[in-house]
């Protein structure tokens, strides 16, 4: 009786095939992670209802067409913008010309003072995107540092390390990102 041995399949070229596929995916792979500054646009305004804000509650940031910065009517520098925003939003010495605060009770945090301040950002059509992102970056940094402060005070960890979803929500409510962008117009300037 002839032996019924199963003929062995030569798997020697298996590696070559796998290599071929591997090289294909290596070449087509793009490993770039997308990062960026996230913002929420305001819904379109139907009528001309002007939001009524008190002068003391608005922090005006203006970027001119030549990328010069103006903060609260005065020429300013981007390196001090973050601290300015932080002082404005916290109003540590309860100054009359800085925003009012409102006591509100938030779940998990209890009663906490919430600033009524709003940062109003206005730019010209000629402002460079790079400068705009720089300003946005500083504003974001200011707010995230404020959130960190609240988070550390109540939970002992930074906001980014806060895992509990309810705690995150509470801190978000305590420090809302109050950045408002003005309706576009040509402000010009130099």
């Amino acid at each position: 009786m002839a032996s019924k041995e199963v003929p062995e399949i030569n798997a020697g070229s298996m590696a070559d095939i796998a290599f071929l596929l591997l090289i294909f995916f290596l070449v087509t792979t793009t490993m770039d992670v997308d990062t960026g500054i996230t913002r929420k646009l305001p819904p379109p305004v139907e009528d001309d209802t002007k939001m009524d804000y008190k002068e003391r509650n608005i922090f005006k940031v203006l970027v001119s067409s030549s990328d010069a910065l103006m903060v609260e009517g005065e020429r300013s520098n981007i390196s001090t913008l973050k601290e300015d925003v932080k002082i404005f939003m916290t109003n540590p010495t309860n100054r009359e010309d800085l925003p009012e605060k409102e006591m509100r009770s938030i779940e998990n945090l209890g009663d906490i003072e919430i600033s009524k301040g709003v940062v109003s950002l206005k730019n010209d059509r000629g402002t460079s995107y790079e400068m705009y992102i720089k300003v946005q970056n500083e504003l974001t940094a200011a707010f995230s540092e404020l959130r960190d402060e609240v988070s550390i005070r109540f939970y002992g960890v930074k906001f980014s390390n806060l895992i509990n979803e309810e705690h995150r929500k509470a801190v978000q409510q305590a420090v809302p990102i109050a950045i408002s962008e003005a309706e576009p117009e040509n402000i010009g300037g130099n």
Partner: protein, 144 residues
């Protein structure tokens, strides 16, 4: 001399292969505008890439298309008026439940003037695509 046993080699290669297959995202569009994103420190990662639509803004790579900043949607140049239909098409291609999580990533060159960006933003507001992301490169510290 003793031969090295290579029978496990295909397995190793396959493992690498699967790794790359899983991490691969095929580049969907060919860029026809130059995009050098600005730098920022306070960036967030874009989660769920399948729910992101991209708008590219920059100077055309080929100089015959001019030196002005142009908008690129999908594979072609576009005007601000095309954005509405682009967003509508993007919405339609997604699952109904996912539509409200759609993010628009603005990949603009850092030399772009804000006029173009503002126009895009206004257009996005009109069609209700309110979640946006200004694509920027993460750096540890910004120089002023």
């Amino acid at each position: 001399m003793q031969k090295i046993n290579t029978s496990a080699l295909p397995d190793i290669i396959f493992m690498l292969l699967f790794f790359f297959m899983v991490t691969t995202t095929m580049r969907e569009v060919t860029l026809i505008v130059q995009v050098k994103p600005p730098e920022a420190t306070e960036v967030q990662k874009l989660e769920k890439k399948s729910l992101v639509s991209y708008i590219y803004v920059g100077v055309p790579i080929k100089t015959q298309f001019g030196t002005e900043s142009r908008i690129q949607l999908n594979d072609a140049f576009a005007n601000t008026s095309n954005i509405a239909e682009f967003i509508a098409a993007e919405k339609n291609s997604r699952d109904e439940a996912d539509r409200k999580f759609l993010t628009t990533s603005i990949k603009a060159d850092k030399r772009t003037r804000m006029g173009v960006i503002t126009d895009i933003k206004q257009e996005l507001r009109k069609v209700g695509a309110l979640k946006i992301n200004y694509s920027s490169r993460k750096v540890a510290k910004l120089s002023y």
